[in-house]
C-alpha cells in the first residue's frame, strides 16, 4: 500500500492569539475602577483607586519584599512537601485498591475541616513560627494533587488492560507503561490547583498569627486603614500565584514533550 502523505500536518497551524482578550478585559476593569473612584470621590480608605494601589506598591516596596519572601518561603516549602506526598500517596492509592479505600475518605474529611479553625489551633500548638504555616499549606495542596492523580490512575480502560495482559504484562508493568503516563495530565491539573492554593494558604495562616509575612502585613494594613497597602498586598498574591501557575504549565509542556519519544 502507498504511503499516505497527507497525514500528520494537523497540528501545524497556530492557535489564534486569544491570550490578549483577558488582558483587555482586565485593563477595562481597572480603567472603570479608576473612573468610578474619581467620579464618586470615594474615600481611599474605603476603596483606593488603582493609581493609589500602585503608589502604595512602590512606596512600601522594601517592606513588601521582606514579607513576600517569608510568605513565598512558607508556600514553597509546603508545596514541595505536598507534591512529594501527593505523588507518593497518589501512586499508592492508584495501585493498591485497599489503600485507596482506606485513605480516600480520610483525605476528603481533612478537606471539610475549615482552615480558619485549624490555623489558630496550629498556632496554639506550634507557636507563631514557620512550621504551622507550612503544615497548613501542605494540608491545602496535598489533596488536589493526590486526588486528581489517583483519579486518572484508576480510570478504567478495559481494552488497553486486556491487550497488555495478553502481551504478558503484569500489574506493575501495565501500571508503569499505561497508567502512569496516562495519568500525568491529571497530576498536572492537580498541581495547577495546588500552586494557586499554596500562596493563599500561607497568607491565611499568617493572618491568624505570625511575626512576618504578607498575611500579618495585611492585617496590620487593615487595622490602620491603609486600604491601598492591603490592595497592594493582594496584587502581589495574585502575581505570585499566576507565576507559579505558569511555571507548572511550562514544566508540564517539557515533561509531555519528553514523554513523546520514549
Amino acid at each position: 500500500m502507498k504511503k499516505l502523505k497527507n497525514t500528520g500536518q494537523k497540528n501545524k497551524y497556530k492557535e489564534p492569539g486569544l491570550g490578549i482578550i483577558p488582558v483587555v478585559i482586565l485593563g477595562i476593569f481597572v480603567l472603570l475602577w479608576q473612573a468610578l473612584v474619581d467620579l464618586l470621590k470615594i474615600q481611599p480608605f474605603i476603596l483606593p483607586s488603582p493609581i493609589k494601589v500602585f503608589k502604595a506598591l512602590y512606596d512600601e516596596r522594601r517592606l513588601l519584599l521582606t514579607h513576600t519572601l517569608v510568605t513565598v518561603g512558607e508556600a514553597l516549602a509546603g508545596l514541595g512537601i505536598a507534591i512529594v506526598l501527593g505523588i507518593i500517596f497518589g501512586l499508592l492509592m492508584g495501585y493498591y485498591k485497599p489503600v485507596r479505600v482506606a485513605l480516600y475518605p480520610v483525605f476528603v474529611i481533612t478537606q471539610t475541616i475549615p482552615l480558619i479553625i485549624l490555623a489558630p489551633l496550629f498556632a496554639v500548638w506550634l507557636g507563631f513560627g514557620f512550621l504551622p504555616k507550612i503544615i497548613i499549606v501542605v494540608l491545602m495542596c496535598f489533596f488536589p494533587i493526590s486526588v486528581t492523580f489517583t483519579q486518572d490512575l484508576i480510570k478504567p480502560d478495559e481494552d488497553m488492560d486486556n491487550i497488555l495482559k495478553v502481551m504478558g504484562a503484569g500489574k506493575w508493568k501495565s501500571f508503569r507503561l499505561a497508567r502512569i503516563p496516562q495519568a500525568l495530565s491529571g497530576l498536572f491539573s492537580g498541581l495547577k490547583i495546588a500552586v494557586t492554593y499554596s500562596i493563599t494558604g500561607a497568607v491565611i495562616s499568617e493572618w491568624i498569627g505570625a511575626k512576618e509575612g504578607l498575611g500579618i502585613y495585611m492585617t496590620r494594613a487593615m487595622t490602620s486603614f491603609k486600604t491601598a497597602v492591603l490592595f497592594a498586598d493582594v496584587v502581589i498574591i495574585i502575581v505570585l500565584s499566576l507565576a507559579l501557575y505558569k511555571l507548572v504549565e511550562i514544566i508540564e509542556k517539557k515533561v509531555t514533550k519528553n514523554l513523546e519519544y520514549v
Partner: protein, 254 residues
C-alpha cells in the same frame, strides 16, 4: 509447532447483578476447530458472544465450562502466548509509532535495539516506513490499524485473534486493509481467528466461515470457502461468492 485451536462443548453464563440467578447465557455448547495456519472468520449478530469467545481463547476470562486447546495447551491453566487485537487500536498516544509497535518486545524485556533493526522490513511491508516517529494522532485510521496489527504480529504467538479490527474504518479504507491483510497473511501464514459482522469481509478473507446464532451464541453453520489463493478482489463479483453469501444469510435468518 502445533498452532491449531480446538474448542469443545464450551458453555458460559454471565451472572449479572440483576438477574434471577439462572444467569445470562452467553455461549452455549460451542464446538469449533481451526487447523494450524488456517484463516477462519467468526460471523454473527452483535452480542452473540463472539468477542467473549476470543477473550476466553486469549485466556482473559476463565469462568466457563468446557475446554479450549491451543495446540496441546489449555489457556485456562497456563498462559499461552497469542496475538490479540481489537477494533480500538489501543495505541498509546504519548508514544511514537515505533515504540508503540515495539511494546510487546519491551514487555518481554527483549532486546529493543535488535528488534528495531529486525522489524525494518516489516515496517515497510505494513506500509509504515517513514512514519516511525509519528504520534498515533498524526496518522490516518488505516495506518493506526496497521500499526496495531504489526504490534499484534510482534506478540509472540502463532495464533492471531482479531476482534473486528477493521470495523471502525470507512468502507474504502476497510477494503484496502482487507486486500493488504490477505496478501500479508498469505506470505506469513499464522492461524487466524477473525471476528467480524461483515459477510463480504468474512468470505473474502477466510478459508472457513463459522456462523454463530444470537445469544446464547452457538455455532449454527460452517462454510468452507474454496476460492484459491492469492485472493483477488474480483472474486466478490462472481456467482460463487453470491452463493456463499446467500448461504450465510439463510443461516443467519433461520
Amino acid at each position: 509447532m502445533d498452532n491449531s485451536i480446538r474448542i469443545k462443548e464450551l458453555n458460559m453464563v454471565y451472572n449479572g447483578p440483576d438477574d434471577d440467578g439462572t444467569g445470562l447465557g452467553v455461549l452455549q455448547n460451542v464446538n469449533l476447530e481451526v487447523q494450524g495456519n488456517e484463516f477462519v472468520s467468526i460471523l454473527g449478530p452483535s452480542g452473540c458472544g463472539k468477542s467473549t469467545l476470543l477473550k476466553l481463547i486469549a485466556g482473559l476470562e476463565k469462568d466457563y465450562d468446557g475446554d479450549i486447546y491451543l495446540g496441546n495447551d489449555n489457556p485456562r491453566y497456563k498462559r499461552v502466548p497469542v496475538c490479540y487485537m481489537l477494533q480500538k487500536d489501543c495505541l498509546m498516544p504519548w508514544r511514537s509509532l515505533l515504540s508503540n509497535v515495539l511494546l510487546p518486545i519491551e514487555i518481554k524485556n527483549g532486546d529493543l535495539k535488535k528488534a528495531r533493526n529486525e522489524i525494518q522490513p516489516l515496517i515497510a511491508e505494513f506500509g509504515l516506513a517513514g512514519f516511525e516517529n509519528y504520534k498515533p494522532r498524526q496518522l490516518s485510521g488505516g495506518m493506526r490499524q496497521r500499526a496495531a496489527l504489526l504490534r499484534t504480529y510482534l506478540m509472540d504467538g502463532e495464533i492471531m485473534l482479531l476482534d473486528e479490527p477493521f470495523a471502525a474504518l470507512d468502507e474504502i479504507t476497510r477494503m484496502q486493509m482487507q486486500d493488504w491483510l490477505t496478501s500479508v497473511w498469505e506470505k506469513h501464514k499464522k492461524t487466524v481467528l477473525f471476528v467480524t459482522h461483515d459477510i463480504d469481509e468474512a468470505i473474502y478473507l477466510s478459508d472457513k466461515v463459522v456462523v454463530m446464532s444470537e445469544r446464547p451464541g452457538t455455532v449454527i453453520g460452517e462454510i468452507k470457502i474454496d476460492f484459491q489463493r492469492p485472493r483477488k478482489r474480483e472474486m466478490i463479483l462472481t456467482s460463487r461468492f453470491s452463493d456463499y453469501k446467500k448461504n450465510i444469510i439463510e443461516l443467519l435468518r433461520a
